[in-house]
Each structure stands twice: as C-alpha cells, then as structure tokens.
Subunit: 337 residues, 2 copies
C-alpha cells in the first residue's frame, strides 16, 4: 500500500489569506487538534516564513517565537515545521527555532535560484534539523532544468525536495513529466505543494503521488494564498478512495476545518476570475492587488495586466512591474484610437 506524509500548511500558508493575523491561541488550538489526527508535520509561522513579518510582506499578529512556542506546547505526534527564505531568515532565527522545538526546516527559493539555498541547508543540517528544500514557481523551468535544480538541492544535503506550484498554474501533464523525471534522478524523497487557481491542486497532488511523491502539502479547507491550496480533508478523502494511506481520519479532519477554520475565513475559497487569471498566467497571488490598482489607475483591464506579467515571467518581488505594464497598455490603447 502506498503511504504518503501530509504536511498541513494551514498555519503558515493560511496566514496569507488572513493577512498574517492568526493569534497564538488559535495556532495552539488548531495545531493541537491537527496533532491528534495523524498529520506528519504542521508548518507554523508568518506566511513568508521566518522573519517574514515586515512592512513589505505584512506585519504578523505575533512574532515567530510566539507562534512556534504556542504550537510546540501542544504537539505530541506531529513534527513542527518552519519555512525560511534565504535573504530573509538568518542564523539567529534558526537558533530561536531550535530552542522552540522546531524539527523541520524548509528552505525555499525560486526554482531558478537553488544555489542560494546551499548555506541555509548546510547550516540547518548542522544544527540537527530535518532539512527540506523547496523550489517555487516550478513552471518557469523545463523538465531537464527542473531536475538539475532539484539535484543541486539534494547535493546540499536536503532530506526532501519539493516542487511548489504557488500560482496554481501547472497542468497534470506538466506535473507528471517533472515528478517522473525527479523520481528517476533523485535519491531523496520528493514532495508537491499545489494551489487551486485552476482547481487542479488535488488532481496534481494525485499525479505527483502516482509518480512517486511521498510528501504533500495541504491546508484545512484549502485555506491559503490566492485560490487556496489542496484541502487537507479532500486529499484524505481521495487517498481513502485510492487506498493510499495517510493515517488521518476523514471525519475528524472535516470537523477541524468546519469548527476552527471556516469561522476565520474572510471569504470562501471559491474560484474568482482574478484567481483564475493568476493560475492561467502563472503569476503569484502577491501580484493581484498590484495589478488591480495599476489597472484602475491607467484605465485598463487588470486581467490583461496579469496575463502580460505572466508572459514576462515575473516573480515575487517584482510586483511593481504591474505599473509599467498597465501604463504601456494604456499608452498603446490611446495610440490605437
């Protein structure tokens, strides 16, 4: 029987959907309930990871230390995980995480920049963390280049290598090619993290599992950035049907989502046109508001701004480009008249 390990990411990716305003009490309550279900790991923190709380990414309700302490106080079975982006998280953060009882550190870079993860991975390993590597915006590289970046991560010592489809852009065929090739090329386990901008987070997770992925990220009720993630309860349901073992009770995981997450959700995780466009174009959800504001300012269609930003393969940190794109569109439209 195939077994997979679920990392529940509600308390980290869900922060994006809540403007990073989970309280430590909520974190403790949700983590405590999740801990008893059999999830393998629970990721906690600011949406952008260690030291993510900032004017740029949004100020968190609590500090990393407060969040991690709250979660660690209730965990008996599940491993406590954090994410770190090189350039934001530092050695001091890792030491704090260690003191708080964190077991898994996930080092995340754009898929084109695996090399900047080396120091962080080596440091985390030395400090005794289970260390996992994440390649985000996975769609911008072809299969061969993807495998090359994944092997770099393995060479630095990563215990697991994930592809993240943060824009919810990838189609099942793209997942199949990449996971088949990674499974073949790597010795360490591989993982997947999907978003639902094209309502393919579950379908893509199932393809990844079929191709050998052992680690899947999910969020309760899909509560996460953009159109949300693969819902934890949905993956458990599909896994039951396919005789894939998750160790998680379906009814209890449904209960937790309904009792603790639904009341917190500022909006339902349905598929808005904006979210669909982000997935269609391969644009990260952090661009959405920028595109809307720029489109309004220059009197153009925000969806077309998103499409153009996608065509230019913009990545996180380049959100201001929406202004240039909207300005150029407006200028071109005037010249046409």
């Amino acid at each position: 029987m195939v077994k997979i390990k679920i990392l529940d990411d509600t308390l980290r990716d869900g922060q994006h959907a809540l403007s990073h305003q989970f309280t430590p009490d909520q974190v403790a309550e949700i983590a405590g309930r999740l801990d008893k279900t059999g999830v393998d790991a629970i990721e906690v923190g600011h949406g952008n990871g260690l030291s993510g709380s900032s004017c740029q990414y949004g100020i968190g309700y609590a500090s990393d230390e407060e969040y991690l302490t709250a979660a660690a106080s209730v965990l008996k079975h599940a491993k406590l995980a954090i994410i770190v982006l090189p350039g934001i998280g530092t050695r001091e953060n890792f030491e704090m995480a260690k003191r708080c009882g964190v077991q898994i550190v996930r080092v995340s870079t754009q898929i084109t920049e695996a090399d900047i993860a080396m120091q962080h991975i080596e440091m985390a390993k030395k400090m005794g963390f289970e260390t996992r590597a994440i390649l985000t915006q996975a769609q911008v590289l072809d299969v061969e280049a993807t495998v090359r970046q994944a092997k770099l991560m393995e060479s630095y010592g990563a215990d697991v290598v994930y592809l993240f489809d943060g824009s919810g852009y990838m189609l099942p065929g793209q997942i199949r090619e990449r996971f088949t090739a990674m499974k073949e090329a790597l010795n360490v386990p591989i993982g997947f993290h999907g978003h639902n901008n094209l309502q393919l987070a579950l379908a893509n997770s199932l393809v990844a599992i079929e191709c050998g992925a052992e680690h899947i990220d999910t969020c309760l009720k899909g509560f996460g950035a953009g159109a949300g993630n693969c819902p934890t309860e949905l993956l458990v349901a599909a896994a039951n049907r396919l005789s894939i073992e998750t160790g998680i009770d379906l009814f209890e995981i449904l209960n937790i989502g309904d009792e603790l997450i639904v009341p917190l959700m500022p909006r339902p995780m349905d598929l808005t046109s904006d979210c669909l466009m982000l997935g269609y174009a391969g644009v990260y959800s952090s661009f959405r508001l920028f595109a809307q504001r720029a489109a309004e300012k220059y009197g153009v269609d925000s969806r077309k701004v998103i499409a153009e930003v996608g065509a230019r393969k913009c990545t996180e940190g380049q959100e201001d480009l929406c202004i240039d794109v909207a300005y150029e569109m407006s200028k071109a439209a005037k010249e046409e008249r």
Copy 2:
C-alpha cells in the same frame, strides 16, 4: 489541433442551485451573451428537464415553453438544447420543444437503465432533433458494463453518448478507463459532464478529452447542482493552455460569469464538507437535505448517513432511504451503549 464542443449547462443545471427560479428575462440575457461567445450549445429548462417542474423536484419559476421561447428569441449561433428523463418528459413536450426551435434533445437515464431511453431517442430522431444520450451515475457500473450501456444508446440512434458524473465521485483514473474503452467501442462522438464535489471536474474533463471526448458540459462560474460543475471559463482557460480549440474568448466568458451569474448566486461554489461527502460516497446532491434532516431527527452524523447511502448505491428517487439509514444508525448506537 484538438477541437471540443462546449455545451453550456448554466441555464439547466444552474437551476438546481437556484431552486429553479431563473426568470425568462435572465435566461434571455444570459443565453444572448453566451450565444456570441462561440459555445456550441446552450441547454435551457427546469433542472430536471422537460416537465420537471413539480412538487417532487421543485416548481419552476416559468414553464418549459416560456424558458425555451425566451432562449430561442436570442440565439443566432449556438444550438438550443433540452434534457428529458424518460418517465417525466412526453411526446407532447417534444412537440412543444420543436415549435420553440429546440435543436438538441438529450435523453437521460441512470447508467443501469439505458433500455428505457429507446423510445424517446427514436421519437426525437424521427422528429428531426439532434439526439444525444446521457448515462448518469456512471460510477455504479464497471468499464465493460458501461460500454455495453453506451452501445445500447448508440444502437437506438443517439448522435452523441455522454457519461454524467452527477455526484462528482469519479477519479481521473476511472474516467480514463471508461473513455478509452468507449472511444474504442463506439462510432458516435462521446461526451462528459462532471461535478466538482472532489474538485476534479476540470481534471476529469481534461482526461476525457485526452481519451477522445469531443463534447463537454460546463456551467458559468461552475453554477450547478451540489458542488457545481466544471466552470465554463475554467475549461476555456485550460483548453487555451493545452492548444485545445473551443472557439470561445476567455475574457468575454469571464465577463459573463462575473456580470450575470455571480450576482444571482445564493452561495459561493466553494467546497463544503457536505458536498465533499457526497462526492466521496457517490451520492447525488438531491440526498443532501434528506440526509441532514434524518440525521438531525435521529441524532446521528449526517455525513455518515451519506456514506452509508453511497455504500448502498442509492440513486435519485430513493432519497427517503436516508430516514431508514439514520434510524438504524441511531438504534445501533443505542445498543452499543
């Protein structure tokens, strides 16, 4: 280049989500906008098809004739379609449909009962309709039996044969097996109609297309029974990415959904636990309220009622069985104490 034909089912399946209360004016406005996009066909009527308006299924806001006349008055490009369930729709209904300008009649039966469609298909053919056959609750038969029922429909004269996954139960692997076998065995085109109870409506539609399905049903914003259908705009987006031709402009189809459907939606098409359970268990959405009421009456878990109803392979018309199931569960629980 692969081409598919989209039948937009918003004005028929969407009736379920609106308690059959579309007005003829709304039908005319939505059909008129859809007509210009390049959809192949637009299905209109009561959610349960011709003569579906009744105490049992819900009284429609308008009569079949009023709906069809409203739609026919605006259509210039798309074909006007209706659905009919043998045992409900009659010859008189067909004659009225003909007068109203209906071009496509879709005759729908449970997948185990293709034989009861013979007379209706033959009659529709004789009257000059393009006649399509629908096999619902497709999951209850294995691949071989599915093909047998599909071939029966073909032998009666069906111009297209569809599988309907009305409970949103089927997994991509089940779709692949069935459509591969049907494509091999049938001479007429095949089609798919998926629901989103496991967030697989798009993924399953794409698998069906890959295996040779040429006809796909969709609804604007996914607005339909239960967890809703494959969203029209989402299939267009995915088809664009895969170079599958739909003939439909993505931005205009997004506009129609946002301008005309979103304001009518009583609730967002997000994935509630009830809908997920229906998909998990393979139970049609008409059971949902029955299960909830019975569970409340007998103090048991409505989700477990749904799971049991699914295990017993109940089909539409057997909704009262929820009472028996809930009663038995309550009795068993008392005996355990």
